[in-house]
Symmetry: C2
Subunit: 333 residues, 2 copies
DNA sequence: CCTCCCCAAGAAATCGATTACACCTCCGAT
DNA sequence: ATCGGAGGTGTAATCGATTTCTTGGGGAGG
């Protein structure tokens, strides 16, 4: 592949001039033409590796995503990618697969590659490596999940309004025994969702006792199913369940189906995170929709602010409730 | 951040020695210890950008995916990422969003970043840039979708057996008027699926006339819905439809539902690509499952073979049929 | 005791760009 | 006429690693 020296020779100028022309520094028509012609003829493309070494800017952002196969995170990644690209950055995606060790491994790799900034939707609570990121001076923004003790802005959704509305509807529909499936204590996101839901229910005179708070470290299908099974074995099983993740919700639904129970007749089901195909499930699922694409965009902007040394605060965007049949609503058209 | 010079000074050796120790070249116990100690104390990490410049190897692979929000490609990307990582490469993902222009843009960026190799699940037929990739000497492997005129190995699934089985079942279930929703003529994948399905049906005495071949350039939800609508307006509407993409299938299902038709009673529906939540749709969807993860793995291995100068052939892995209720099977447990 | 060889380690070139600095030329002002 | 400034261009330093070439010291063999 042709390099800048070849171009310089062909155009009869020095490499400095070529560089200047290409970076739009000193455009003297005549010289400029010759250089651009040479670039054309040789099909020259600047080597980004060399450029990055010299300028200490790679033009790449890193994104650590907790689980790429989870549709919520997929859409998030897609939005981040879009926004980064439109701002001239490319994106290196690392999929933690909900495994803290793998996440650390990936962060390490990204730091070694000298990405300009890092977005992390953290798996678990392992923050040792995140502390290193901060120490290394690499701009960091947390996404969707905050991590205590890490000094970095966090971009995420606020479920308060949606949960308040949900509690009201459940109460109005006559549900008396709500339950929640949530990430284990110690995960900030999980604790927050639990607290907000509980408070919202209390406002309508509904209690959320500990026996109807089910948690599982396995934030997947099987975890959701196991928790639902435990719920149904209670002397007074719940008549409305909020699953704080879409995969767990599917597991829960499997368990209900396996026991011959019907949604929403026997148990209402509500899911955190809306996904396009929720309209196609049986029954269509009521969801708490996070503003996914906006979160992605905001995260990129916040990160860029940090990269450029501008001040950057945390961002909180409102989630909203999307009522469908699974919580006892009339079918949507 | 500490660099190799700092380490050298601290250990009282030259940079060359540090480099050798770190790359396991000259292991003299005593010197080695001192260097490693210095590395520890300074928290030194080699700068991959500098290393890449010198060695002309970045240790990164590129993956162009036609649509990241399509669950099939998500799983594919996940598998590729896993495999690449386990082999010491990191992955830069570019999402073409089914737009050829964006795809070209991304390929350009990846080439400029001097990735070691490129995997492309191509959007559309635009192959001008792919030709450039080949010309640039960057190892290239096509994934899922072959591109005529591009001299690169292609890793994809073979639907013959699955389609043959499907045709047999449809015939046995008494379906007489099969139809297919497919990518427009000119896309190799679409044409192949059409030809295979038609041949398989013919073996059971079923015809697939052109009026029951619906295509749409929009490989998404709306495209699928439009085609299904046209089918249903035929004097003799189909009684079994194969959608060659999962998003198009959802669109088709929406149209059926909107018209008050029932699956599979009125129309049987079969989908290309299996997705975890197909068991949760109403009704559960019969699918032709591609060996997604194996495809991803194979693609990485094929690419690595090319990178290392070993010969690499195209790979064809068998897809298989997963019968569920939407094509008239008994409910699966 | 001298020579030769081998091996470890240092010095310096190199990868391909950007950029500080020096130089040269041309022009206008004093 | 001379000086100063400005603008364009070339020379060379630089980024941080790897790698080639060179050097020096120690051990073995004569």
């Amino acid at each position: 592949m042709a390099n800048i020296k070849d171009v310089a020779e062909r155009a009869g100028v020095s490499v400095a001039t070529v560089s200047r022309v290409l970076n739009g520094r000193s455009p003297v028509a005549e010289t400029r033409e010759r250089v651009l012609a040479a670039v054309q003829e040789l099909g020259y493309r600047p080597n980004n590796v060399a450029r990055a070494l010299r300028t200490a800017r790679t033009g790449a952002l890193g994104l650590i995503i907790s689980d790429l196969t989870n549709p919520f995170f997929t859409e998030l990644a897609d939005a981040v990618e879009d926004e980064a690209r439109s701002l001239g950055y490319s994106l290196v995606i690392g999929n933690a697969g909900e495994r803290p060790a793998q996440q650390d491994d990936y962060i390490r790799t990204l730091l070694d590659r000298r990405i300009d900034g890092l977005l992390v939707s953290s798996a678990g609570t392992g923050s040792a490596m995140l502390r290193e990121v901060v120490a290394s001076g690499t701009p960091l923004v947390l996404l969707d999940r905050s991590v205590p003790g890490i000094d970095a802005p966090c971009v995420r959704a606020d479920g308060r309004a949606a949960l308040t509305e949900l509690a009201g509807r459940l109460a109005a529909l006559g549900r008396r025994r709500p339950a929640i499936i949530v990430a284990p204590a110690g995960t900030p996101t999980g604790e927050e969702r639990l607290a907000l839901f509980r408070a919202a229910l209390a406002a309508h005179g509904l209690a959320l006792p500990d026996e109807r708070v089910g948690s599982t470290p396995d934030l997947q299908h099987t975890g959701g199913r196991r928790v639902m099974s435990a719920f149904l074995d209670l002397p007074e099983p719940p008549d409305a369940v909020l699953a704080t993740d879409n995969l767990m919700a599917l597991g829960a639904m499997d368990e209900l189906r396996a026991r011959g129970l019907r949604v929403p007749d026997d148990v209402a089901l509500v899911v955190y995170d809306d996904v396009p195909w929720f309209t196609h499930t049986d029954p269509p699922l009521t969801a708490i929709a996070q503003p996914t694409r906006e979160l992605g965009r905001a995260a990129v902007h916040t990160l860029l602010a940090r990269i450029e040394g501008r001040p950057a605060d945390s961002v909180l965007l409102p989630a909203h409730l999307v009522p469908r049949r699974s919580c006892g609503e009339p079918p949507t058209p």
